[in-house]
């Protein structure tokens, strides 16, 4: 099975305190530690497990700058076979549709049975998987938390639906899946793996290589633009609990008890 996983380099929320910059145009990025988007990492782990069971290759692809090579190498050290970096100044400022357009152009250069994305990334929009499937005219399942390979034509996927219930779908290949965290337990990146992929070349594909221009990607083509970032002001009935974590937990339990949330 030929599997492609789309991954993104994002600020590591476990390592950073995220603050909005003074202009409200973005978050403060100066001192941020970056890593691979958590959802994408689950997708890559799932892809590696599928490959190990049924054979094939796992390719990881990202749209990003030179620094994004790090997440590709990281996922390759974890076990992905190939990495492709899609990088061009022209891509800067792309909206979700723009990113999906870039990915689609790359995907059409290859032949993949299964395309995976994380369910969402740092910005939480969760658009790319669905748009990509639509643009490629492929079947799509979102928030997938279980995959069973039935044949080279069809797989079964589990999705979590409202109220924690589980739904199972059969879906024809090729298809696009967006992967939910918890689908597996991603392995750690072993130290030897890092060295093994250190000398592997990662091809960089630019807008020209993909037949793209500013009319379809980048800031000029973006129809969704971020205009403001701020911490919402406290609404009525909202209360910020303060103190140490333990103190906050105690206060929360008290409140929940008082309001009948827990008995």
């Amino acid at each position: 099975m030929e599997i492609l996983v789309c991954v993104k380099r994002v600020p590591d929320t476990a390592e950073n305190e995220i603050v909005v910059n003074s202009k409200g145009s973005d978050i403060e990025r100066g001192d941020l530690v970056y890593s691979v988007n958590e959802w994408d990492n689950y997708a890559v782990e799932e892809a590696i497990q599928i490959r190990d069971n049924v054979g094939g290759t796992v390719t990881v692809v990202t749209v990003g700058d030179d620094e994004s090579e790090e997440v590709l190498r990281r996922e390759m050290a974890m076990g992905a076979d190939k990495g492709i970096l899609l990088s061009d100044d022209l891509f800067n400022g792309s909206d979700g549709k723009g990113i999906a357009t870039i990915l689609k152009a790359e995907i059409q250069k290859g032949k993949y049975d299964l395309i995976m994305t994380g369910a969402l990334a740092d910005d939480g929009a969760g658009q790319v998987g669905g748009m990509l499937a639509a643009m490629l005219d492929l079947p799509y399942a979102s928030l997938v938390n279980k995959i069973k390979i039935v044949s080279d034509k069809m797989i079964r996927v589990g999705r979590e639906i409202e109220g924690g219930n589980q739904e199972i779908n059969e879906i024809d290949l090729p298809c696009v899946l967006s992967i939910q965290t918890g689908i597996n337990e991603p392995r750690y990146v072993g130290i030897r793996g890092i060295r093994k992929v250190a000398s592997v070349e990662i091809p960089v594909h630019k807008a020209g290589d993909l037949g793209l221009d500013g009319t379809v990607v980048g800031a000029s083509a973006a129809k969704v633009k971020k205009v403001d970032y701020f911490v919402p002001s406290m609404g009525e009935g909202a209360e910020m609990l303060e103190g140490s974590t333990d103190e906050i937990v105690d206060k929360l339990i008290e409140l929940l008890k008082a309001k009948g949330g827990i008995k």
Binding site: E69, E70, G190, I191, R192, G243
Partner: protein, 383 residues
């Protein structure tokens, strides 16, 4: 000049950090309390590839550079000193001497099992009456036919008496040189050899999750081939080993200091007195600023020493400096971190308490701070 770490070093740090936070941090306090060496975390560290980091793949190693090993040790030390001790002692002292001075047969025989983490190996230099003055070792080895007969004892030896300890490299007096000085040689002794016993040492103040032993040799016979490298080269081998080992103690100081700093910063933002977070009082903010500054300097010094080593340049002076400085930076950081935690910092429930204790070893093991100053003073021509 380029201060950026390579992509591979960044990935390595990210990987070891996540591993340490998830697998070691949650169990470290309990292991410290029970004074227990964990075979479970040992195995997980082995699977990650933390043993034989700089050893060629031919012998089962990871074949990374020395800086990679140092970053890995630093990241483990950021959450726990005992686990970092197991890793640092094994790589620098257990695996290092066999890898650098062993013959092909010895390397083939021991390294694969040590690099896979199935087995541990100790480094027996210190004796009850020969600590800083290790050249004064009295443990003797006499050649009798095809065998060395070893008598004596060693003390404070890391990784030598676990269930998976496969043996030790022992510094022995094998004769007297023509200039009247003792001839010292290193000999490999496998666990289970009659006449050799390793006993666990209990009741340590620090590194309580790491294994420390006293070793006893009573007419212990090992094959002649167990000599490591050449006869009479033992002291030189031990000193070379300690040069590398000092970098890993430096890594423990740096990582430990980083851990203290992060705990202190977090707590200073959370804890409120007089109506505001304690970190907002300038006297406390300045402590945090000093910690950040000292850690930055320590990291530059340590990484530079690694860079020298990785580029085959002399690094002994810088290794001594890095070991000394990183240990003292961690001391300052642990001290500030406990101070910022107030009474809570003195309770075992808070990890800073353990860091405060664990730090002390760094100023004593692998050459005390006084000895490092002697080494540096000699290099600069002051002594």
């Amino acid at each position: 000049m380029d201060f950026a770490l390579s992509v591979d070093h960044e990935i390595l740090r990210d990987s070891v950090r996540k591993f340490a936070e998830k697998e070691i941090q949650p169990v470290a306090r309990e292991l410290d309390k029970k004074e227990e060496f964990s075979y479970e975390t040992m195995q997980k560290m082995a699977e990650l590839g933390l043993f034989g980091v700089f050893v060629s793949e031919k012998y089962g190693g990871q074949e990374m550079d020395y800086l990679s090993y140092i970053i890995a040790t630093e990241e483990i030390a950021r959450v726990d000193g005992s686990h970092a001790a197991t890793v640092a002692a094994e790589n620098s002292l257990g695996i290092g001497p066999i890898y650098y001075f062993g013959n092909e047969a010895q390397k083939q025989k021991y390294l694969p099992r040590l690099c896979s983490g199935e087995a541990l190996w100790g480094f027996g230099l210190t004796e009850a009456n020969a600590g800083s003055d290790a050249a004064n070792s009295k443990t003797s080895a006499v050649l009798d036919g095809d065998e060395w007969v070893i008598n004596g004892s060693k003390i404070f030896i890391t990784n030598a008496s676990t269930k998976i300890s496969a043996g030790v490299t022992v510094l022995c007096k094998t004769g007297t040189r023509s200039d009247g000085k003792p001839e010292l040689s290193c000999i490999l002794v496998e666990t289970g050899t009659p006449g050799y016993e390793a006993r666990v040492m209990h009741d340590k103040m620090m590194w309580r999750g790491s294994n420390t032993s006293s070793l006893f040799f009573e007419d212990c016979r090992v094959p002649k081939e167990n000599l490591l490298g050449e006869r009479g080269h033992g002291f030189h081998q031990m000193m070379k080993t300690l040069d590398g080992g000092r970098l890993s103690i430096g890594a423990m100081g740096l990582g430990g200091a980083q851990g203290c700093f992060e705990m202190a910063l977090r707590y200073s933002k959370e804890r409120e007195q007089f109506g505001k977070p304690i970190g907002k009082f300038q006297v406390n903010a300045f402590k945090l600023a000093d910690m950040a500054l000292e850690i930055e300097c320590a990291r530059l010094l340590l990484y530079k020493a690694c860079w020298l080593r990785d580029n085959d340049m002399p690094f002994s002076k810088e290794a001594a400096m890095a070991k000394l400085h990183c240990s003292e930076v961690m001391r300052n950081c642990a001290n500030h971190a406990v101070q910022l935690h107030g009474g809570y910092g003195l309770m075992q429930e808070f990890d800073v308490e353990r860091f405060y204790r664990d730090q002390k070893l760094l100023e004593i093991g692998e050459g005390t701070s006084e000895v490092q100053r002697i080494v540096i003073a000699r290099y600069i021509g002051a002594l």
